[in-house]
């Protein structure tokens, strides 16, 4: 809220002299901030949804079925996490170019959701492993299909883990900069991370707008976190089986 010409003042008063909401007004009105925010929101939400639905089904297969390569597959997933992200930028860029997905939402969504899949799969698999199999068997006998048992029994019981996976997907995608820098070059498609960076000029950085923007982008994450936290209750499976 401090006016731009008093940035290096050492005055520590909580509301500085000449305080105004100009920075907020400027960042919202004079830049593409709202469209950056919209881009980020679309990409992040889609990423989280795609990532969690892919991870939840893949993790179920890893947790419940033994198939050729199931152990190797899990190890490979873990292995991909050991490669530094920056090393993957070039191959990622080439792939996205070949697919013609540069400057598209789809390209970003694929890049993001795939990169957080391994973590989500491991997380969910670990959680599924703690759900007694007899619950699904009871459901099978009661009349569900395999998928029905997963959908009606396992998924509702996994809400804490699903919420965590969703949050993880959301925050990483929301805050991501590097991949976005590589995939997006059209400033209309920028996510807020790229957009805010644009505010840093070579000779002048609009610190007021920068700070105001930074504050504004935390709001969606905060909302999501507060919303999902109600699902983060442990002990959902308590009482179903003897234990």
């Amino acid at each position: 809220m401090r006016p731009g010409d008093r940035l290096i003042s050492t005055d520590l008063s909580f509301i500085p002299p000449g305080a105004s909401l100009d920075a907020y007004r400027n960042v919202l009105g004079k830049t593409g901030f709202l469209s950056w925010l919209w881009n980020s929101l679309v990409i992040t939400c889609a990423t989280s949804l795609v990532g969690v639905s892919l991870a939840s089904t893949a993790a179920y297969a890893f947790s419940r079925f033994r198939f050729p390569g199931s152990k190797l597959g899990l190890l490979l997933l873990l292995g991909t996490q050991m490669i530094p992200a920056s090393m993957l930028l070039l191959p990622l860029f080439l792939m996205i170019v070949r697919l013609g997905l540069i400057n598209t939402y789809l390209g970003m969504i694929i890049a993001y959701s795939v990169s957080s899949l391994p973590f989500s799969i491991w997380l969910l698999k670990g959680y599924y492993d703690t759900i007694p199999r007899s619950l699904e068997e009871a459901a099978l006998v009661d009349g569900t299909t395999r998928f029905g048992a997963f959908y009606r029994i396992v998924l509702p019981l996994s809400t804490p883990a699903l919420a965590i996976a969703f949050l993880f997907n959301f925050t990483t995608a929301w805050n991501e900069y590097l991949v976005a820098r590589v995939v997006l070059s059209d400033s209309r498609m920028y996510t807020w991370t790229l957009g805010l960076f644009e505010l840093q000029g070579q000779y002048l950085t609009q610190w007021g707008m920068f700070a105001a923007g930074s504050l504004l982008v935390t709001i969606p994450v905060l909302c999501i976190f507060l919303y999902t936290s109600k699902w983060l209750v442990s002990g959902l499976t308590l009482g179903g089986v003897k234990g």
Partner: protein, 353 residues
């Protein structure tokens, strides 16, 4: 209600054979108990009937229909699991109606069936509770209720009482017996507890090592065990075995006792005499037909007394009247009840007489 037929069922995991050829007929409305020590394959067999486990070899027939290729939901069975397997995120009423809702029954029909089952099992006050708010016995009743409302062709019970404490287990055992009389259903019940087997069953199938050792009514299995395994497994306390020799004329000799088994049994050689602790009488030493044994320990159980004895190098357990008086170390006269003796071939354990 349907009958269940198993033909030549085999199951193996990679190299390990779990079931080695099971043939069994379960008639309509019969209460068939599969009993055996842990690892004998009884639970695996039940899960194969349910369709939760694939058969390596053989055929499962329910109500005249081969069901090998059918998934559990198409077999018209209901199962009660050892760990209850209640759906933790649904209340009691929803747990019970889950299968009915899946089948798309009308709401009125569902609620009347749930209320009926709740009345039978005394669950009415609990319908709104969540499984975690129930005690072990209540959870088990809900699990049974969930099976009843489905009105299945066959009920499968997989050691349903083994997680309950002793007193509750007895109560539930009686409840299940009443339930069977009331709903008149075909039941296949797996347990390792031979008391449950004896009290509940119309017929018992005793299993061991992946095979059925004997099928028969509780009385048959108890009084005419087909082999030494069945003789030792059924009955509590366990039957005494005395090793000896059998001649072709039917006289059995051992360091403990010698006696005649009239008739030609055709299988002379090493033999084992089996006698249940309840079929040994304590008599004055020197009484006709008796032999001497040294009393090691006497346990008073209230109405009966357990005598641990030693005779001719063999250890024996006798259950006698509580009034019996004898100090440890003293000599006691024992007599077997001649009409309740069992004779087995030592080589393969089969019953001779």
């Amino acid at each position: 209600m349907a009958s269940v037929t198993l033909r030549g069922i085999q199951k193996s995991y990679e190299t390990a054979a779990v079931l080695r050829g099971i043939d069994l007929e379960v008639a309509e409305r019969e209460f068939m108990v599969l009993v055996g020590p842990s690892g004998c394959g009884k639970s695996t067999l039940l899960r194969m009937i349910a369709g939760l486990e694939e058969t390596t070899e053989g055929e499962v027939v329910i109500g005249g229909r081969a069901v090998n290729a059918l998934p559990p939901r198409e077999r018209e069975i209901a199962m009660v699991f050892q760990d209850y397997a209640l759906y933790p995120h649904m209340n009691v009423a929803d747990n019970m109606s889950f299968g009915l809702r899946l089948r798309g029954l009308p709401a009125a029909e569902i609620s009347s069936r749930v209320l009926d089952a709740a009345a039978i099992l005394h669950l009415e006050p609990l319908l709104e509770r969540m499984p975690r708010q129930l005690s072990g016995g209540q959870r088990q009743r809900v699990a049974i209720g969930r099976a009843i409302v489905r009105k299945p062709q066959v009920f499968l019970f997989d050691e349903p009482l083994s997680n309950l404490d002793a007193k509750l287990r007895e109560e539930m055992r009686v409840e299940i017996a009443k339930l069977h009389q009331r709903i008149d259903a075909t039941v296949i019940y797996v347990t390792h507890d031979q008391v449950e087997a004896m009290t509940l069953a119309t017929r018992i199938a005793v299993m061991s090592g992946g095979r059925i050792q004997q099928v028969g009514s509780p009385a048959e299995v108890f009084s005419k065990p087909a082999n030494m395994f069945v003789a030792g497994f059924i009955g509590s306390p366990t039957m005494n075995f005395i090793e000896g020799q059998l001649t072709a004329e039917g006289s059995f000799t051992s360091p403990v006792v010698s006696m005649k088994f009239p008739g030609n049994h055709g299988r002379p050689g090493a033999a084992v005499l089996g006698v249940r602790p309840d079929d040994i009488e304590a008599v004055d030493s020197g009484a006709p037909g008796s032999f001497a044994a040294e009393l090691e320990v006497a346990e008073l159980l209230g109405h009966r007394k357990n005598l641990y004895l030693k005779s001719g190098g063999a250890k024996l357990l006798a259950v006698v009247e509580a009034a019996f008086n004898g100090a440890p170390g003293s000599t006691v006269g024992l007599r077997f009840r001649q009409d309740r003796l069992h004779l087995f071939a030592a080589a393969d354990g089969r019953r001779i007489a």
